[in-house]
Amino acid sequence: MSVVDQKAIELPPRISEASVADYFALLKPRVMSLVIFTALVGLMIAPGHVHPVLGFISILCIAVGAGASGALNMALEGDIDVLMSRTANRPIPRGRITRGEAMGFGLTLSFFSVMTLGALVNWYAGGLLAFTIFFYVVIYTMGLKRRTAQNIVIGGAAGALPPVVAWAAATGSLSVEPLLLFLIIFFWTPPHFWALALFRSDDYARAGVPMLPVVAGPDATRLQILLYTIVLVAIAAAPWPLGYFDWVYGVTSLVLGAGMLVLAINVYRHRTGSTALRATRRLFAFSILYLFALFAVLLLDVVARTVAPLIW
């Protein structure tokens, strides 16, 4: 009996025709852009001065680490990505890149992003970035995603960590402010992804992914979206009365939070037909704007406080 599979020897070697764009798509650039933005806010609101070069390296490493997580996620989910219309166009389901190539690409980028952040900035941030990648790939992708309807609730921690890593890169320590940013993204994740899962539930059911609408049904999901939105709005506004962020942030978070609440109530009330679909899509789209605007206010506040003394 031969140890080597004879068929494997007879098969012609596979020559890759993957383009640079295919590899770039493995990094999930849209997710990466939100990671870059939230990390930038974490870096900017941190106390003290960060040298621009070190700040740039920190954001770059966090972005590449997030991209590496995306590549590893696609390598591990190639079998279900091909079954879902939302993901069927990714490089692995299209046959442009093999799962092994994506795995190698993701591991290489993970190693370099963590080591570069550790060596050039500080090892505290490097360690946190390594933990973020581990959490997303091992805990979320390998552990939770195919096993429990709470997958994106717990897994949301990975997406919430970039501003914490950035704060650690800037200060070498942790504080309450980055943890508040963490909590905002953490509680934002369930309403955002369950809104998506509501209008993509057929996709998830076909792939056997136990998203909440598939497991508990759309009505239970609508209730959970509303409850998580109430918690999100309260947590997002809390830093103002607690004295961590100023009134501009507070008022913005209340106005945007009111918008999130109205849309979540609409999702809860309209349960059938095109009205229900429209309500869900609106909540999904607005949730992206909500998070972006909330973090943008924090960024503008820092910029205004930096620029104002130069003008006046």
Partner: protein
């Protein structure tokens, strides 16, 4: 036996598309490595002698 009569080993011949893509990937890797070198070099200027001090 002269060289012409020897059986030639089978070789993989890349198509033009494969060659083009491989070249593009190689260039992208070169840019990435170049950027990494540049970053490490820039940090030696930013940190000066402190580049050897790496806080936990």
């Amino acid at each position: 036996m002269d060289n012409d009569s020897k059986p030639k080993p089978e070789r993989i011949v890349l198509t033009e598309a494969q060659k083009k893509r491989r070249r593009e990937r190689s260039i992208a890797i070169a840019w990435a490595v170049g950027l990494l070198v540049l970053l490490f070099f820039a940090v030696t200027f930013v940190k000066g002698p402190g580049v050897l001090v790496r806080p936990m």
